[in-house]
Symmetry: C2
Subunit: 466 residues, 2 copies
């Protein structure tokens, strides 16, 4: 059974202790204190370390037990061997604990014994534990950030609706950093590593009723308890889309996962069945995970999988149509009425079809008009717009015009803008206007396919999400 | 039969005429004159237009026939209807012709009739024709550039070994622009559009013996003559790797290709068989095309498909191993000797395996040492290095150290550097040192899979390319 007991104190702590704090530069504990400060955490942050009286000019406590009233969350940045003692000596002084360091179950029997002691101490005191071997917790709306990577190397995403739960810390931070650069808003991130206590099922259960989370993206190597996972995932799916990347699917990957987080990855077919049963949308890798987050972050769900492609580059349009077919998306023809309207208004050499090829004679206005006309009515569930920047009639106004038309249609409009510097610079224009934008045709198709599945599931469940 | 007759005058013209030249700003002809100047074309460039005495301060000729001795290459930037007359009125005044504009066979019977007249006039005069409905020719070593997109929107790649032949102009320029931003060197680009005369087989035949071309990348919607293609492709493959993206493979894409270049895309299985027969490596889309060009541009071919993964991010490593398996690459275990050496020299919590996980405690030196040790001996054909920039021990020196180790090994080392701005900025460090670098694990795997195929084919043919 998933348990959300005391998870609130993990995600919304009123006070935080950093155990292992020191003034030595370059220490993980120091970065964590900086992360909390930079995130704007407004409760007290207590350094804990028996070797110091003060850290960073703030009073330092010898143990957690010395902090009057205890803390909601203690972040332990100490060697593995010291962890059980900390929980045993001050039982209950922290309602929640994050154990950052590795050196536990993933390293062998001794590490497993450390984990056993931690689990026992935590259970006795009713303390929830995240980790060990993890990054911990990020909550954009609570100024919570236990991640020990400085902000110049790891940008934090803006506040938004996507929450990420990840067995891998490096995966979580790489995704966060990429989403930050893509302007995708994030609600909560949990990196739970060896999941000695808090696991994917607990997090899904918690996020199911978390109002700031509109979609959940999961990276997993293994599941702790299959039944609990399916139950929690199904509950979460009934409230919001859940997308999962399961790695360690094949020989080498499975072997690697074992040495990474000590995870027994199990048979992949079992995972696929669990995803299907609970309604979790499976993605195949990092790219699709990021693309899915971008599309889910835009919070527009198509009703189905019928895509209209609008482009000024014929070849890219043909390739997009192929990719859509391969991804199981439909690219039906335009209906006759729309065809006639467009043929009347557009130059004769525009290819009025799906893909709609506006050629090098395109202008901002024609592009926007095309998108408006093809999305009108009920023939398509979403549009993929491939904007190639060669034509002189395309200017920086295109993004604004397209976003207006997307707004009018109420349908997802995914943009791809492949190419070099000029194109890459222009991607920001779409991003700023809330249009998910991708560097290649295939990346746009991958994202479209994720939200198409979300839409179809919602349709089947009779939720008719818009 | 493929014919390379007179192709030399297309790729290495001593003189160029731009027909339809004018001083009106924004005209395609003007951009083409600028492109030639910016590319450093050092032969005469003649504007041709009966309406002007001068264009850009240079004497303008009323017809091609008025240029004494004719020209090697005439670029026609005039409406479709005017094209046949130009070839008919001055037969043979241009040894080669590029017809930029559309409005030919792709639009219907009238356009087809124009094509017929052009073909007849060209055949009579022995003139080779590129196009219509195309961008024309780019040759980095001859200062040739007929592409009508200004350089601020379309960067031109540096001089290098990859040549691109493309039925789609927009695909060609988007790829060029992306490759330019990726620092991938290009030899020649041919955008041949409707291929009224010069087609993919002619280009392959020509590039087979082109010394400045070390690899060929093809974008195709259709093949004009299956037998000629297979013959020319096989000849080219015997000299250098040939990679092809065939689009219009499926329903909607196939339909789209027809309206794009009038191409009858034919049954996909026939193409696959032709690729197999001729030894052409098929890629699945734009991303793989770009990735393949990047890897081929580095001109290091692995002997086979055994990949070693070295990373400081365990989760990304697991995902990479999965992707390799999915792409048919092998990720065998490290051999015992290497394992023992690494276990002795590395901290105990590094996961000494394949993937090799150096964890957040990695440094530049440990990363480089790891790559050197695992590539030593004959256990692996190439390495994929996933560099995540969180660990404080990684600095900008990493790229230089890794490139030294790659050089020593003589094996391909592909880098991926996923994440946000900090990672993206660091990609250039690898690029500058000749290490192909990719923004995601999957993109590195796609490129690895292309060069693995190149290596295996070379091995089978007993060429043993290094």
């Amino acid at each position: 059974m998933a348990s959300t007991e005391n998870l609130e104190s993990l995600f919304h702590p009123r006070s935080v202790a950093v155990v292992g704090a020191s003034d030595k530069p370059g220490k993980i504990s120091g970065v964590i204190m900086e992360s909390l400060a930079a995130a704007g955490f407004d409760g007290p942050v207590y350094p804990v370390n028996p070797s110091y009286e003060e850290v960073g000019g703030v009073r330092c406590y010898p143990t957690l037990g010395h902090i009057e009233g205890g803390v909601d969350l203690a972040v332990l940045a100490v060697p593995a061997g010291a962890v059980p003692g900390i929980l045993e000596e001050s039982p209950g002084s922290a309602r929640g604990v994050v154990i950052i360091g590795g050196g536990f179950g993933e390293t062998g029997p001794e590490g497993k014994e450390l984990e056993r002691r931690v689990r026992e101490a935590a259970r006795k005191a009713g303390t929830r534990v995240v980790g060990p071997n993890c990054m911990g917790l990020y909550n954009s709306s609570a100024g919570l950030d236990t991640f020990f990577i400085p902000r110049d190397r790891l940008r934090r995403p803006p506040s938004g609706g996507v929450s990420i739960i990840s067995q891998s810390g490096s995966f979580a931070i790489t995704a966060m950093d990429e989403l930050a650069s893509e302007g995708v808003g994030v609600a909560k991130v949990v990196s739970y590593g060896n999941k000695l206590d808090v696991n994917e099922a607990d997090c899904l259960e918690y996020l199911a009723s978390d109002e700031s989370t509109s979609a959940v993206a999961v990276y997993m190597e293994s599941v702790s308890d299959g039944r609990a996972f399916v139950e929690a995932a199904a509950r979460c799916v009934s409230a919001k889309p859940v997308m999962a990347l399961k790695v360690g699917r094949f020989g080498a990957g499975s072997r690697a996962a074992r040495s990474h987080t000590g995870a027994m990855t199990g048979r992949y077919e079992v995972y696929r069945a669990a995803f299907r049963k609970s309604g979790v949308i499976e993605v195949g890798g990092y790219e699709e995970f990021i693309g899915g987050c971008k599309a889910l972050g835009a919070e527009k769900t198509p009703r189905g999988r019928r895509v209209v492609i609008v482009t000024d580059g014929g070849g890219i349009g043909v390739g997009l149509a192929d990719s859509c077919s391969e991804a199981g998306l439909e690219v039906p023809e335009l209906d006759d009425e729309v065809k006639e309207t467009l043929a009347r208004e557009f130059p004769s050499y525009f290819a009025v079809a799906n893909p709609l090829d506006l050629t090098g004679s395109v202008t901002d206005g024609l592009f926007a008009e095309a998108v408006e006309k093809v999305l009108d009515g009920d023939n398509f569930d979403m549009a993929i717009v491939a904007a190639l920047w060669g034509p002189p009639g395309l200017t920086d106004d295109l993004a604004e015009l397209l976003s207006q038309k997307a707004e009018i249609s109420g349908k997802p409009v995914l943009v791809c803008s492949p190419g070099g510097e000029y194109s890459r610079e222009r991607m920001g224009l779409f991003r700023e206007r809330g249009l998910p934008v991708f560097p290649s045709p295939e990346s746009a198709v991958r994202a479209a396919s994720v939200i198409a599945e979300v839409g179809e599931r919602a349709g089947r469940d009779g939720k008719g999400k818009g």
